[in-house]
């Protein structure tokens, strides 16, 4: 191990002499991590959606006595999507060409059915095949849910008016017909008058029976308000907006930023470092009994691990300070740093082994760095794609350390019970390190040709 230690110390000394390179290697992936975060956070925020109004909705609709401002409703949607009014044919065309993510179609007779309160009108949502379509479907469902809540309130209020009419009596109209309702209160009073005017025991019994019914009916109808609301909304959702973590300091973004930075730095550095041994013509000198090829590969893998540990801890410190200064809920899990350090070493070794393999294949250091960059960029981007959505991305990510590093960091820092996830990620990272390092060891013989 002396030879490995000496080569590692040499590489670190060489690295220390290139601060600009090191800074670029650290800052560039951090910038990419920030951009990825921004893309993930905002990319799907405002999809372009066609609005096809076949019914010619008026500016305002009055339903069950409640006035609904149509423009206001459209404004609510505009928070989540860019609604573009257009004809049905144009919407069809733009949906096919992908110019719009979805089309909301308001069919003919929509407003009339809504006002009639007899039949539920349909709002048609046509979705394209883009990745944002399913997200917009959820947003539209949420909008329809909110509209239904508003209408429900209006319908309940209207129904309660009828209940109040039944209890208190008065004039009313239903489906355009006006009529007088006596009401239970008045019915009770009339029954009291009838009771005073008769001595017929049979009539008095009937009056008592009717009076009991009126009393029970009034009692029951007085409970209608709460019962109606409860049956209309068996479960109510209450949303509490807490201070919480900003997305910038969120667990996933921290883990992704760490893994992304380390993947670029470690892969590029180790690829360049192993190829530089050949560029400097020293491999022949080393293998003359001074350093074995296995030791040469091991030294570069360890270089990745050491750089990952140092850089990862600095980044974790920066995130932690930002979290504490920002007073973010939950704070930074400082007690988890030792576990994170283990993850950094494992991830750095895996990235390092992958970089060594690329460097061995590329042979020349400039080519190695270029190849490492070209290979790493798509691999980390694939690693950000949720495997549940695109299984192929998951399969590809499985054979590259990035996704496993993200899993390890996220669990190590933020999971209540991290051990299972950490264990799985550890096995993956160790396995990938051994596989890449073995392949690199076999390939490094090419340096002697």
């Amino acid at each position: 191990m002396t030879a490995v230690r000496l080569l590692l110390a040499k590489d670190l000394r060489v690295l220390r002499r290139s601060p600009a390179l090191l800074a670029a290697l650290v800052l560039y992936p951090l910038l990419v991590a920030l951009l990825v975060g921004l893309v993930v956070r905002f990319a799907s925020d405002q999809p372009r959606v066609a609005l096809v109004d076949l019914d010619g909705l008026p500016q305002a609709l009055t339903i069950a006595g409640e006035r609904f401002d149509v423009e206001n409703v459209i404004e609510q949607v505009n928070d989540k999507a860019e609604l573009v009014p257009m004809s049905e044919e144009e919407a069809e065309r733009q949906l096919e060409t992908g110019e719009v993510t979805a089309a909301i179609v308001i069919p003919r007779g929509f407003a009339a059915k809504l006002r009639g309160m007899v039949e539920s009108p349909e709002l048609v949502l046509r979705l394209g095949r883009g990745g944002l379509a399913s997200r917009f479907e959820l947003q539209t469902e949420a909008l329809v849910f909110r509209l239904n809540r508003l209408l429900q309130e209006a319908y309940i209020a209207a129904n309660l008016e009828y209940v109040t009419l039944l209890v208190e009596g008065g004039e009313a109209d239903f489906l355009g017909e006006e009529f007088d309702v006596v009401g239970l209160d008045e019915a009770g009073r009339l029954l009291d008058e009838l009771r005073d005017r008769t001595d017929d025991p049979e009539a008095l019994d009937q009056i008592d029976e009717l009076d009991n019914f009126v009393g029970e009916a009034r009692l029951a109808l007085e409970q209608t308000d709460e019962t109606l609301r409860a049956t209309a909304n068996p479960i109510q959702l209450r949303t509490d907006r807490e201070a919480g973590r900003t997305w910038l300091l969120g667990a996933q973004l921290q883990a992704i930023a760490l893994a992304l930075t380390l993947s670029f730095v470690c892969v590029l550095l180790t690829a360049g470092a192993i190829a530089a041994e050949r560029d400097e013509n020293v491999v022949g000198r080393l293998v003359r009994g001074l350093v074995g090829l296995r030791e040469l590969v091991t030294a570069k893998v360890l270089l990745g691990a050491v750089i990952a540990l140092a850089l990862g801890l600095v980044l974790a410190l920066v995130f932690g300070v930002a979290t504490e200064v920002g007073g973010v809920d939950g704070g930074q899990p400082w007690s988890r740093l030792p576990l994170l350090a283990l993850g950094l070493l494992l991830a750095g070794a895996a990235f390092g082994a992958f970089g060594v393999l690329l460097g061995v294949l590329a042979r020349e250091s400039r080519a190695a760095v270029l190849v490492a960059f070209l290979v790493t960029l798509p691999l980390v981007l694939i690693g950000v794609i949720p495997s549940a959505s695109v299984p192929v991305a998951g399969w590809i990510s499985a054979v590259f350390p990035f996704a496993h590093a993200v899993d390890f960091f996220e669990s190590a820092l933020f999971a209540l019970d991290p051990w299972r996830e950490v264990g799985i990620a550890t096995l993956w990272l160790l396995g990938l390190t051994v596989a890449f390092a073995t392949a690199a060891r076999m390939g490094v013989r090419r340096f002697l040709a």
Partner: protein
């Protein structure tokens, strides 16, 4: 039969790169107390032979046999083999440690003075080619070698540095060691070689004393 006086012997050593046979099966003994000149046109297999003798390249077939006790072998490759982002002294200290030399700092300091290397903190990559070649030689001298294998060692040196270089090489021979040097320089060959080996298209075509070589048809071919 191996020469019992040989410090280093190649037996049937051969090497190909892809389909190109760089060195046909070759026997060569390197004896103590001699300076062996290795000549031949470009691509004749000289560097391949020296690299295999040095242990920097594995032969496809054949073996390299060392005397008992095994001699210490120093190798100066044609292209300098050292780290450009380290200073000459750091290079020497690193390779001294890898060689297992005791007191690596002291040995490195002595060699910096011996081969007159700049010691002003400049990185090796910033040095002239001549200075880089001198460092190349200094690294080969770290282990106090019994056999010095030199691949066109003086091609980048000025006359004064060449003289200094040959003084160092002769010192190895004078204490019973061997020097093998690849050269394209006939003057150096005539002046310093005790024995000459000629390679042509990967085959050894002449192995004899410098005098024999001077009278041989191979000398005319090479000239």
């Amino acid at each position: 039969m191996p020469d019992v006086t040989a410090l280093l012997s190649g037996r049937g050593i051969a090497r190909s790169f892809g389909r190109h046979a760089a060195l046909e099966p070759t026997d060569l003994d390197v004896r103590g107390g001699e300076v062996l000149g290795l000549v031949g046109p470009n691509g004749a297999g000289k560097s391949t032979l020296v690299s295999i003798l040095a242990g920097a390249l594995s032969p496809d077939s054949g073996t390299v046999v060392h005397a008992d006790p095994a001699p210490r072998v120093g190798w100066v490759p044609q292209r300098p083999a050292q780290y450009g982002r380290l200073t000459p002294r750091e290079n020497l200290e690193l390779f001294a440690r890898l060689e297992g030399v005791s007191e690596p700092e002291a040995v490195a300091g002595r060699l910096v003075e011996l081969v007159e290397l700049p010691d002003d903190g400049r990185l090796t990559a910033e040095l002239s080619l001549g200075n880089q070649q001198r460092l190349n030689l200094a690294v080969a001298l770290l282990a106090d070698p019994d056999v010095l294998l030199l691949d066109e060692p003086t091609s980048s040196l000025d006359p004064r540095q060449r003289r200094r270089f040959w003084e160092l090489a002769r010192a190895v021979r004078e204490r019973g060691g061997a020097v093998v040097f690849v050269t394209q320089n006939l003057e150096e060959l005539e002046r310093f070689a005790d024995r000459v080996v000629v390679l042509l298209d990967g085959r050894l075509v002449f192995d004899g004393s410098a005098e024999e070589y001077a009278r041989s048809p191979e000398a005319d071919v090479f000239a």
